[in-house]
Symmetry: D2
Subunit: 334 residues, 4 copies
Amino acid sequence: MDLRIGVIGTGAIGEDHIRRITHVITGAKVVALSDINEENAKRLASVYQAVFYQTGQELIWSREVEAVVIASWDPTHAEYVLECIKARKYVLCEKPLATSAEECLEIIDAEMGGGIKLIQVGFMRRYDKGYRKLKEIIGSGAIGEPLMVHCCHRNRIPGPQHTTDMTIKNSGIHEIDILRWLLEEEYETGQVLTVKQNRNAAVGLSDPQIMLLKTKNGVRIQVEVNMNSHYGYDIQCEVVGEKGVIRLPDPENIIRKTEGMCSYEIYADWSQRFVQAYDTELEQWVESVKKSRLTGPDAWDGYVACITADTLIRARKQETVEPVITEPQPDFYR
Amino acid sequence: MDLRIGVIGTGAIGEDHIRRITHVITGAKVVALSDINEENAKRLASVYQAVFYQTGQELIWSREVEAVVIASWDPTHAEYVLECIKARKYVLCEKPLATSAEECLEIIDAEMGGGIKLIQVGFMRRYDKGYRKLKEIIGSGAIGEPLMVHCCHRNRIPGPQHTTDMTIKNSGIHEIDILRWLLEEEYETGQVLTVKQNRNAAVGLSDPQIMLLKTKNGVRIQVEVNMNSHYGYDIQCEVVGEKGVIRLPDPENIIRKTEGMCSYEIYADWSQRFVQAYDTELEQWVESVKKSRLTGPDAWDGYVACITADTLIRARKQETVEPVITEPQPDFYR
Amino acid sequence: MDLRIGVIGTGAIGEDHIRRITHVITGAKVVALSDINEENAKRLASVYQAVFYQTGQELIWSREVEAVVIASWDPTHAEYVLECIKARKYVLCEKPLATSAEECLEIIDAEMGGGIKLIQVGFMRRYDKGYRKLKEIIGSGAIGEPLMVHCCHRNRIPGPQHTTDMTIKNSGIHEIDILRWLLEEEYETGQVLTVKQNRNAAVGLSDPQIMLLKTKNGVRIQVEVNMNSHYGYDIQCEVVGEKGVIRLPDPENIIRKTEGMCSYEIYADWSQRFVQAYDTELEQWVESVKKSRLTGPDAWDGYVACITADTLIRARKQETVEPVITEPQPDFYR
Amino acid sequence: MDLRIGVIGTGAIGEDHIRRITHVITGAKVVALSDINEENAKRLASVYQAVFYQTGQELIWSREVEAVVIASWDPTHAEYVLECIKARKYVLCEKPLATSAEECLEIIDAEMGGGIKLIQVGFMRRYDKGYRKLKEIIGSGAIGEPLMVHCCHRNRIPGPQHTTDMTIKNSGIHEIDILRWLLEEEYETGQVLTVKQNRNAAVGLSDPQIMLLKTKNGVRIQVEVNMNSHYGYDIQCEVVGEKGVIRLPDPENIIRKTEGMCSYEIYADWSQRFVQAYDTELEQWVESVKKSRLTGPDAWDGYVACITADTLIRARKQETVEPVITEPQPDFYR
């Protein structure tokens, strides 16, 4: 039987998840929608033959809804997740899990209190076949122990409300999560380098920035987070090991030779780059919910990402190297 | 509602289609199976909760079956397709449509007699995003008129029953179809060059071969069909136009630098290379059947591919340049 | 001591050789010049402190001249080469050695009559490090026996006097020579495919053309000779062996990511592409002359290239497959 | 007339310069040699028909010697350079100019005292066509203002005497110089990150290291200096600008498809990678000496590189961010 999903938040990402659940993956269907933008939510409810709910809370408690996807405004994530825990429903929450580490810990306590893991956080890169292959090769020992990771996270242009903190908390957070997962290591310290300002960046936005992270084992990570690359959406990740180097390829595209140049197109935005990762994320989440055994990034991962991002933001403001200090990891999340 | 599909033939490709319809695409389900290997078909019927039918004919006429996928032994394709026409059911038939041009014409007559296009032939490359992008760029005029196409179709090793004729009729036939589609042109002549024998090829198998085709407008096509490349499955297609050249990229893969080499993996077989094409083929076929309006390669395309392959095989045996002569294309297929 | 060289012909290639001998390589100097364009030759004689000679013959017989470079108008090559033989002087003759196979044979007879190899023909690609590495890898057995070679020879635009025959005799002749050298095999047959006409090509020029060659061992060679690629000067060579494929890389150039594309520049003409090959050719020729033992392409190679080109031109005109028939190779040239 | 050069130091680099002057470039010859390894120097003097001198001083003052190349042991550079200034002879000194900033300043004072620029330091990368092209593109404005530079300097394995300081002072110093030249900016601060230790590195050698530099305009530079890459010699440089990114390509090499991989060879050491740069350096140095007007990196560049390296070494030891403080640049060197 199809898993009956309710989706809270019907903006760009929410609508994309609705489309994906309906048309791309199998084994699930969208039965309920909610959004403060009532008009849009009702329109989509009509298109997708789902029921519209006035509030996320009502949707979460609805008997029709077996599992919940949260794609609403960031500051609302925590309360909906907590409500899902109360209602004992599986939930896939878009990143961030919450806007503060305190809220994350509150969620963690509630989840542990319930005794069952219900929460998955939307770090979809863990499902990207490129990162998965990097992890597989590292695991094979082919490059020895990883020593350094060089990353670039380049957007063409940021949205109008993009802020200096969001560069870390909304964009760089993907690298914060994926590199922990890739290296299977925790962070020890973080630092942010401010860079010569790109004159194309909006007034008040410090762009680009460089995040420096050091793991407990001394692996050094540099992440260029560049919101105004101007030329395209470009995600680079190179892992330097003791006897070799591996890196993500550029996404394949037709090779052209015209007008004195050999060239290929670069993606313009993230939705093109991570199509496969989002598809696989939803697919595997649905499968795991059906088996009552989540396998993806959990609330603890959401908490660590959040506190690491906060640490980096503080480090940037203070121009210091800051220790990344987390609570002890509960056995529940091991 | 899900389209109820019956699948005839449950070998490698048939099983893959069953998996795809069930787990990958949405909007369809497999309700019926048939195969002369009764045991395997029954096993899969059990796994996929489908009904086993003793014969393809019974499956085709079953009220439970709305549309048919044929993935049985090549020589049986024609009779099943004809039966589908009689039963007025949409059918996706794996290539080849039939083993002779005469049978293809019989099918065409039957289909036209019914007054409605029911047949799609499984030339899945038309759904590959690489070929689609090549076609889009040609259409944009960015390289001027195409003048030449250089192709390679390389298998790692062929199956044990592979014959010299099959190199053209089963492997090269993909290029025969896709290049007609890409160039939107018909073939005028064909020729096959025998090549120095690969000593790794089975005794009696002439391998590799080079297919030469010329279109009515004088575009020259060369296709290396190489069943024993030894190193991998590699599909190359380069279109040379009046002011530029475009070509398929190698499929993206992790870049490694180890032991003095920079390298990336090459696919080992076709199932890896054309995953996306097969998925999209099925997905769009299901959609089009639901709209009662097929959009993919039709019986006429199956016929032209068949007669072109036959012409090339004759040209190889006679060591001549042979004209590709088809019946006049009926308006029905324009 | 520096080898004292006289250069006949001071056009573009001649002047480039003068520059190269003077400024790039060591161990030689230009002491004498001659050209029917007296003014240009005198100007260069003044710049390079060389003596101007009224005729090539005078230059050849001059006591000051130890070795001769011929870069004059193609139809004059043969008589100058014959004069060098009479004068018993080493000569590097730009390709073609002569404009007809008969003249080549006359030269061969004269050279054999003198009992010493004096002639090197300017097939500079034999000194290109890319082709040399291809040959080395073939020789290592890493790809098994070569079975096919796919080549492209693309010019951006041809000179105004370029003719349909010159496509083979002046451009394609480089592939004719280099592939014989690369494969260490002789040609058995040749054929030329006419291609849909590039509308950017001059009226009366059949462009592009495809040369097909078959070696005595059955290796199949296809060469696209394309004088109006429009986009750049591009030389491709891929050797397909029994267990692997090797090919020339595109010349390295800065990778750019700008405006939605990743790209690198392609050379505009041959002088950029083969700088290193020309330098090494001259350098090694000078060294070998000093040791009185030529090691480069000889008169026999010039003859085979000439007769193969003639065969291909005849095959094109007759639309036939023509045997490549040469005289028996004298031991003198083995 | 050939420039008469004396070479002090006949180890690997010294011998390579002797070979280059004799066989590769034109317009110069080696007339004098000196080395504390008398036997080797005498042997080379015999091979190259040069005169052996017991001491560098004697060689410098010899009437036969017009210009000097210093390729001796690093700690001896300064005294030979000072002697050349006294003798008013042009000198190309391998990097480093001296082993301390104080010595560099002494040289600078002496050179200014003589009133004429005589010294060029052997930062050969300024002559590499890749870096030159990067500089040209930056200058064209095609990528806007540079904001960041990501570099890797990877050796396969270091020599047995390699120390932690040498990683910066002997290897990273190339990046210190080339990036100042590329960006046309001075450094403001430097920092060094220690990295998880490569277990293949010698005991006591901290390897790899990451150098962080910030220019006066805020451009951020990261240089991985990795002496035990294990896989090859690999120099990477990517410049990120306001609207585009440019980077050095991997050196071109034959593309192979064998055994399931597509691959190309990576250089094993620096001598292969920078052949062209060394050749052009020598060639242009000889030309500029003949015109009595040096154009390459001068004593001031040698001083800035030295003091920047010292600053980085101090920053590493103290784990601090250190300001790069130089003397005011004299007009003499502008």
